[in-house]
């Protein structure tokens, strides 16, 4: 059996090496996300790599960030500073890591604002294997990364698909979104009754998860936060953690508050923004009105921190 295994491994090594080292155009990788999240992937790529405008403040997070933070408003309010909202549908800490690596490769970032919620997600972001480098996919820690194998499969088969598209000149061009800002405002207000119902449901006490399990679940996010922090500290980038809870949340601060404090400043917006039903599009997303209030508040906070920074 040993001989057979040895022969199989020797036979497969050149093929595996070829797949791992297969060079794929970064834009192709983002372009392949054309059917996802209103085709924002290609815009993210072009804003980082093709748009010559600076990125001083980057917002990373999910659709909550995308819908809640007006980067244009923040940029206009802070002269000489360019804020960009890189919110992308769904949640997963590893995507933040991939994006921050791409941003700092191209731009001189000064502040990074990362969305945090009541709890950390223990799963990989669905688009992580599509835009991450092979090294980041393969070397992800297997102990707490439940998606390691599926991510590796998705990543390498996607690379092969992109190579095939290149060879066969398959037209996979995505409609290109132009613009300097990523904020995607949503109009409309959630019905009061639906929000009340959700609040009631959230008030039902849930059994407490054992500490050891909580820690195990949080370890995926913690590991990526550590990596992000290391990458940022090497380039003197300040990290802010912006708390964006759901409507009717019982937590006044995130569960991983202490972890965030180790790496940066935690920004907890005032309750009146989140408690006022008029600010919500649905139970997870602020509408344009809520986004404006939140963006003004964030602008003040960033200005304040910068002033403090200058004084120090």
């Amino acid at each position: 059996m040993g001989k057979l295994l040895k022969n199989i491994i020797l036979f497969l090594i050149p093929i595996l090496l070829m797949i791992v080292l297969l060079p794929v155009n970064k834009r192709f990788m983002y372009q392949g996300l054309k059917d996802d999240c209103s085709n924002i992937g290609i815009w993210v790529h072009d804003r980082i790599f093709n748009n010559p405008r600076a990125i001083d403040i980057a917002f990373l997070g999910s659709s909550r960030t995308m819908n809640s933070i007006s980067d244009r408003l923040i940029s206009d309010s802070i002269p000489g500073r360019e804020a960009v909202n890189f919110g992308y549908c769904r949640f997963g800490r590893d995507l933040n890591f991939v994006l921050i690596k791409d941003i700092i490769r191209e731009k001189s970032l000064r502040n990074l604002v990362i969305e945090v919620r009541e709890n950390e997600n223990r799963f990989s972001h669905p688009i992580f294997p599509y835009i991450a480098q092979s090294r980041d996919v393969v070397l992800a820690n297997p102990i707490y990364n439940a998606d390691l194998l599926s991510n590796a499969w998705t990543h390498f088969s996607y690379k092969i698909e992109l190579t095939q598209d290149f060879i066969y000149q398959h037209d996979s061009a995505a409609p290109i979104r132009i613009g300097d800002f990523g904020f995607a405002p949503v109009e409309g207000t959630a019905s009061s009754s639906s929000l009340d119902e959700i609040k009631q449901m959230r008030n039902i006490p849930k059994p407490e998860v054992m500490k050891i399990i909580q820690d195990f679940h949080a370890s995926f996010a913690r590991a990526y936060l550590k990596k992000i922090s290391k990458t940022c500290s090497e380039r003197n980038i300040d990290i802010y953690f912006l708390y964006l809870p759901s409507y009717g949340s019982n937590s006044d601060k995130p569960k991983e508050y202490d972890t965030y404090l180790k790496y940066g400043v935690v920004l907890i917006p005032p309750n009146d923004i989140f408690e006022d039903q008029i600010n919500w599009y649905d139970e997870n997303h602020l509408n344009q009105c809520g986004a404006k209030k939140l963006s003004i508040w964030i602008t003040k906070q960033i200005n304040l921190k910068w002033k403090q920074h200058v004084i120090n």
Partner: protein, 422 residues
Amino acid sequence: MIIISSTIDYIIGLKLHITTIKSHRKLLLIVSLLVNLGILGFFKYFNFFIESFNELLSIFPINLDSSTLKIILPIGISFYTFQTLSYTIDIYKKKIEPTRDIYSFFAFVSFFPQLVSGPIERASHLLQQFHEKKAFNHKLCVAGLRLMLWGFFKKIVIADNFGILADSIFNPDLSASGLTIIIGAIFFAFQIYADFSGYSDIAIGIARMFGFDIIQNFKTPYYAASFGEFWRRWHISLSTWFRDYVYIPLGGNKGKISRVYLNISITFLLSGLWHGADFTFLIWGGLHGLVLIIEKHIDIKLHKIYYYPVVLICVTLFWIPFRAEDLGHLADMVNSVIHLSSYSFVQIEQIVSDFSMIRFSTLITVLVAFMGVEFLMKSKDFNEWVGDRRRITRILIYYALIFAILLIGNFSVKPSFIYFQF
């Protein structure tokens, strides 16, 4: 379902062995047939019969509000039902003795490599293998890996690529022209062969790695020189099942010629129905039965080289009813095919262009190479054929297959096999 069906057949098998009274033995066999075919009939054909009955009644002014059920087809039911049935019938016919080892029997029925889509095994061949002690066997393991590689190549490169083309053509919204449908039938012929024989190779390969021998299910069927030969090379485990448990018990080749034709017709109509609960499958089975009857009747003496294209063209065109979504879709397609005025290359050009012309040319090149290898293989399987080559040639063949999978294999389709639905 599989547990119910297996338990009943296990018990009936033991009872059949100890019972000597003919009527009791017959009763036991009938119970087994009723239970197995009853379960299969309910899950697979209940809605079909209800719908057909309603349609029939709608011709007359009778309105019976018989509604259909939302039934989920248990995975592999058509395959394991036939496998357990053959076990009981073989014991009844005293061809085999029942096993007392319930674990072996359950393993025989639910053996994972071939549970979902066959090959349909016989107890006389597979069951006794569960009684043997298994140990790692280098030669069998290599043989299994070779077959799996060949199966994956067929599935990912040939089947999944032709599948995209065939799906575009057989999309009922397309209103395909006659020529498009004929080309679609050719694409589907390659798809279904590579898909099903690829699955069979993978199943046989996995089983062989574990030290089990499963029967070869395909022997280069598209090189068959007659319809009879085609059925000796296509889905061998099913066609031999129908031969042994339907055709021969009906009388087979014995008796009046009209009786033989009737036997052929019944066997092929049932074989069509086995594939799916739809009239399109019945038509497909019926057409195959019909050409076999014609072949038998006129006792064709044509030279192989002249008759071979006739067989290939008919077999390919017969895939049209098999692939049709329903009778209405089939009628539309037949209408297009018989109207020569609708023959145009425009649709095909568009479909190939959407697929990518370079990819299509590469696919055709790979297909030619594949059919060439199939021709050289004759009745051997891939393991035997490649095993006869020199070591360096073998390694080059393995690399060629893997590179073909990587360069032209389709990774974007949902992993599924056509015969999973049966």
